[in-house]
């Protein structure tokens, strides 16, 4: 299935809004990024300057589905997921790399989606918390999701998607061999509710059970 996200904008109101945004962003660009615009003007690209540096075509696979998108370079992967694609399972805690709430996997590696621009991931595969369970309402949860439920690995749940994505990374990297090792390699995920002990127990259980993550 091909998800061409701009299809959603196929009504007149949206188009008008997009044109307005384009123009106003061009004005912003004129006042704020002179060298780019001067360069564009020199190359007689002035009218197209906005398009030239505003939107970049981006192909990504997210949770197994291919997407073709058009995004501004300044959009972080986190904002793309949440604001454009409605994948709000990935949380914005701090937006500065300090809390781990935005953890996703990029080509299988746990990373922070708030500290990377979406355009930097052309052709790569992103997995979010929404991509872990089997599809459908009866779909089986991922073993780490089940372990978090069994061990009460959360209270408010805000940090949980990030904790679970990070925990899977921790297990795959073989860094879950003792409670101390789990604590060290999960230290990038802050839980303001303080569910840490249960999180460590959940991860240790999956490790002990030897399930494939």
């Amino acid at each position: 299935m091909q998800h061409n996200e701009p299809d959603r904008n196929n009504n007149a109101g949206q188009e008008a809004r997009r044109d307005f945004l384009k123009q106003s962003t061009l004005l912003t660009a004129l006042s704020l990024t002179p060298s780019v615009v001067v360069q564009a003007a020199e190359k007689h690209l002035d009218e197209k300057a906005a398009a030239y540096f505003e939107q970049v075509t981006l192909k990504l696979t997210i949770n197994g589905k291919p997407y073709t998108l058009s995004v501004e370079p300044r959009v972080t992967l986190l904002d793309l997921l949440r604001e454009r694609l409605n994948l709000t399972g990935t949380k914005k805690g701090c937006d500065y790399g300090q809390c781990g709430a935005c953890t996703v996997h990029i080509d299988g590696r746990r990373t922070l989606s708030c500290l990377t621009f979406a355009v930097m991931h052309e052709g790569q595969a992103v997995t979010t918390i929404e991509g872990l369970a089997e599809a459908g309402p009866q779909g089986k949860l991922h073993p780490v999701q089940e372990a978090f439920i069994r061990h009460d690995g959360f209270q408010c749940g805000y940090c949980t998607p990030g904790q679970i994505m990070s925990a899977i990374g921790c297990l795959r990297e073989d860094r879950a061999n003792s409670p101390d090792e789990i604590r060290e390699y999960m230290s990038g995920n802050i839980c303001r509710c303080g569910a840490y002990n249960n999180i460590v127990d959940a991860i240790a259980e999956v490790k002990k059970g030897g399930q494939k993550v």
Partner: protein, 330 residues
């Protein structure tokens, strides 16, 4: 964040050309430092050149040296069998930095280029000569708990900048005699690691000696006999995921109990990773005992000077040196 022009470079040459032609353009690698600074309005490059597609990720044994590509991820380097076997100090220092997720994004070149974490640098409403030259240093008479004790100007009220370099990896690289391979508009050159970062002098806005448009392509680390006895000690406000208050990279080559060679460097104490060559000289030829380590620590602290909130570093630093050497020898 203002928008910017985005270029994905396909060769080192196109990357260098892309940055060279625009004085405010910057490379972007992992993005973990640059995007943070852009979000906070500390820097606002109108153009970013993405270097992630360049073939600079390899880690290779070249016989007498190990070459690490500038785009190798911090986690890849820390987990690499060659590094664990021959340069465990580097692996330890890398693993002491940031978090598992950030190490999966951060590159070796980006780590070297990361800016200071001084709170005055980080807040555009406060004075900072590094961020806004001429605005003054807010830290000298402000909250200077994290700040430098070495490499300071001789006249106390002339401090232009007392920020420290925040990297853990770089402390190990300074100790291990790394060299930096750089390609640029003016050709290729090699910089000894201890000459890569600089002291603030009168232009603290420059953290290092890299010229605009120059691209770090690799690090080279010479073979050494220090792998069995090395230790990276990091002291911070919490057990993990915090920058160093003080860190020490220590490595020894022991014959029996006698020290043949020694390497010692400190982080969190100066505008650059601080190599302690005089203290190393004290260690050579002596037995690896606490008395020897104390003597070296005393020599290491010569010239140190503190401010209102970081006087604790004058005690913590020598204690950390003794501890790191003890663990390295053990």
């Amino acid at each position: 964040m203002i928008n910017f022009q985005y270029l994905r470079a396909s060769s080192p040459k196109s990357a260098i050309d892309g940055v060279r032609t625009d004085l405010s353009a910057q490379f972007i690698a992992g993005g973990t430092n640059l995007i943070d600074l852009m979000k906070r309005g500390i820097t606002a490059p109108p153009k970013l050149v993405d270097i992630n597609n360049l073939p600079l990720r390899d880690i290779a044994d070249e016989g007498k040296t190990i070459r690490i590509g500038a785009l190798a991820l911090n986690s890849t380097v820390a987990d690499h069998s060659l590094i664990l076997k021959k340069l465990p100090l580097l692996a330890q220092a890398l693993n002491a930095g940031a978090s598992a997720q950030i190490r999966n994004m951060a590159t070796v070149g980006g780590n070297m280029m990361q800016r200071t974490r001084c709170p005055y640098f980080y807040d555009p409403s406060l004075p900072c000569n590094k961020r806004a030259p001429g605005s003054g240093c807010g830290a000298v008479a402000g909250i200077n708990r994290m700040h430098a004790i070495f490499g300071l100007e001789p006249v106390p009220d002339q401090h232009v900048c007392i920020a420290v370099h925040p990297s853990d990896m770089c402390v190990a690289l300074a100790a291990l005699d790394a060299t930096v391979e750089v390609w640029g508009p003016g050709g290729n050159r090699t910089i000894p690691f201890t000459g890569f970062h600089r002291l603030p002098g009168s232009n603290p806005q420059k953290d290092n000696t890299l010229q605009h448009g120059e691209l770090i392509t690799a690090l080279r680390l010479p073979d050494n006999a220090l792998a069995t006895h090395s230790h990276y000690l990091k002291i911070r406000d919490r057990a993990s995921y915090a920058f160093a208050l003080i860190s020490v990279a220590a490595a020894l080559d022991l014959k029996g109990k006698t020290i043949q060679q020694a390497r010692l460097a400190m982080g969190g104490v100066a505008h650059k990773p601080w190599r302690l060559t005089e203290a190393e000289q004290v260690l050579i030829g002596k037995p690896a005992t606490e008395a020897t380590f104390r003597e070296a620590a005393q020599v290491a602290m010569r010239g140190a000077r503190a401010f209102e909130h970081n006087t604790y570093k004058l005690k913590l630093a020598p204690a950390a040196i003794v501890e790191a050497l003890t663990r390295a020898a053990g």
